[in-house]
Amino acid sequence: MTDGATLEGWMPEIGPALSLAEVVEKAFDYRGNVTVIRTDGSETQGYLFNRNADGPVPFVQLFDLNGGGPHTIFYREIRTIRFTGRDTATGNSYAAWLRAKEAAKAADRAEKGSGSTPPRGV
């Protein structure tokens, strides 16, 4: 899970400084939808839930935006991956929750109000 820093909106360019394998790893860890851009220019959007870089033919697997799949795309077909969907993990760590709670308690103390549980979103 991420807390603060997020790759949401990242549009990496694959090149000497950044390999496709590195971008795939980041997409695999990312808790939002991505857009896979193929070398032929076609695109597939969805949640990248699996990758296998070790086999004879490395591939990624996605469920598309309708939940259909899994769709398998080979590394050799991919030009890049864009982090286009909302990062569902941002700000949802337990540490973030504790910080929010402490801040709410401090605000309550300041207002002499009762200490209620602050709301949180996912």
Partner: protein, 340 residues
């Protein structure tokens, strides 16, 4: 230990069969996640941090049964997400019970009373509700980030017990938990009449120097020693006493990551219930292609260094019980004396 004799026998005979068959790696409890949706949003819960189309997905009952068949464990635990939100939960449980699997339905119990009143389940020695409660009212409501959940869960537990169901609890403890309050919690659960309790430290991972890892482990041992020392005779735990001794720092165990394999809408999760390092299409593929040597404390993997979580270490404790005279003797002694 509070397990029914038939369940202990089923697990013991299964382990002995695996050993006689010379299987080096075998699973004990299947963690079957038919969905990731939940009606709570506990802080830090990775199970619910997915885009909407993933949260909408359900395994079919047939997929679930095929996974159960494939890995062959005597015990199936159904976490999630919230399994009471799974549309076919009644049929799934019925099918598993018909196959004589010991089923633990892990629930936050918000919907428990409602589903019981709807007649979704029938009591069976093969079927238990495992209610997620991380402590007394104040601690639990804080852990799940919503007021009133503890009261709802207790109502659900009472209703399930009244209808003759087996009910256990499962509690995750983090650094800073109060040993005194946990002991009060155990008393309260026993007063309610639950069959047994399960406890486990929460999983946390952060890159840290060696000394900090050592201190974290020491703190965890200290916390569990204070909670479990001089246990009351009336407390019953639904887990291996050797695992509890491990939490207290009295047993040296290594993780058995294949012991509680996880199957969900993505497939068979590598390597364990906690880490998501990829998925295999079949259980055999999971066993044969996961690099097991990269996991567990001895591997040096940063993500495993502070882990003492039940899904990795309870299978080790169970194997120890049936794999050595010392383990068997320690288990019997702890069970008979009620001391860990």
């Amino acid at each position: 230990m509070s397990l029914p004799v038939s369940q202990m026998w089923a697990v013991a005979s299964y382990v002995v069969r695996q050993k006689l068959a010379g299987r080096k790696r075998y699973p004990l409890v299947l963690m079957l996640e038919p969905l990731f949706r939940c009606n709570l949003a506990c802080a830090g819960c990775g199970k619910i941090q997915y885009p909407a189309q993933i949260l909408r997905k359900n395994l079919t009952v047939e997929q679930c049964l095929a996974a159960v068949e494939e890995c062959g464990t005597p015990v199936v635990s159904i976490p999630g997400g919230e399994p009471l939100m799974y549309p076919d939960i009644g049929r799934l449980v019925e099918e598993l019970v018909a196959r004589r699997k010991y089923v633990y339905l892990c629930t936050n119990a918000i919907l428990l009373k409602e589903k019981l009143e709807a007649g979704l389940f029938a009591p069976s020695k093969y079927f238990s509700f495992s209610v997620h409660l991380d402590g007394l009212r104040e601690e639990h409501d804080e852990a799940v980030c919503r007021d009133g959940v503890y009261v709802q869960a207790v109502e659900g537990i009472k209703e399930a017990l009244r209808r003759g169901f087996r009910v256990t609890t499962n509690s995750t403890l983090f650094d800073g938990a109060s040993p005194l309050r946990m002991r009060e919690f155990f008393d309260e659960m026993m007063d309610l009449g639950v069959e047994g309790m399960m406890i486990s430290p929460g999983y946390s991972y952060s890159k840290a120097p060696d000394q900090e890892h050592f201190l974290r482990t020491q703190r965890a041992h200290d916390l569990f020693s204070r909670i479990l020392s001089r246990p009351k005779r009336r407390w019953r735990f639904n887990q291996s006493p050797l695992f509890l001794q491990f939490l207290m720092g009295k047993q040296e165990f290594e993780c058995t990551p294949w012991g509680n394999p996880t199957y969900n809408v993505f497939g068979w999760q590598r390597p364990c219930y906690l880490l998501q390092e990829g998925y295999a299409a079949t259980f055999t593929e999971l066993l044969e292609t996961t690099r097991w040597e990269n996991y567990g404390k001895r591997s040096g993997n940063e993500k495993c260094r502070d882990c003492m979580v039940h899904c990795g270490y309870e299978p080790t404790a169970v194997n120890h019980t049936f794999g050595s005279w010392r383990g068997f003797r320690d288990t019997v002694a702890a069970t008979v004396t009620g001391r860990f």
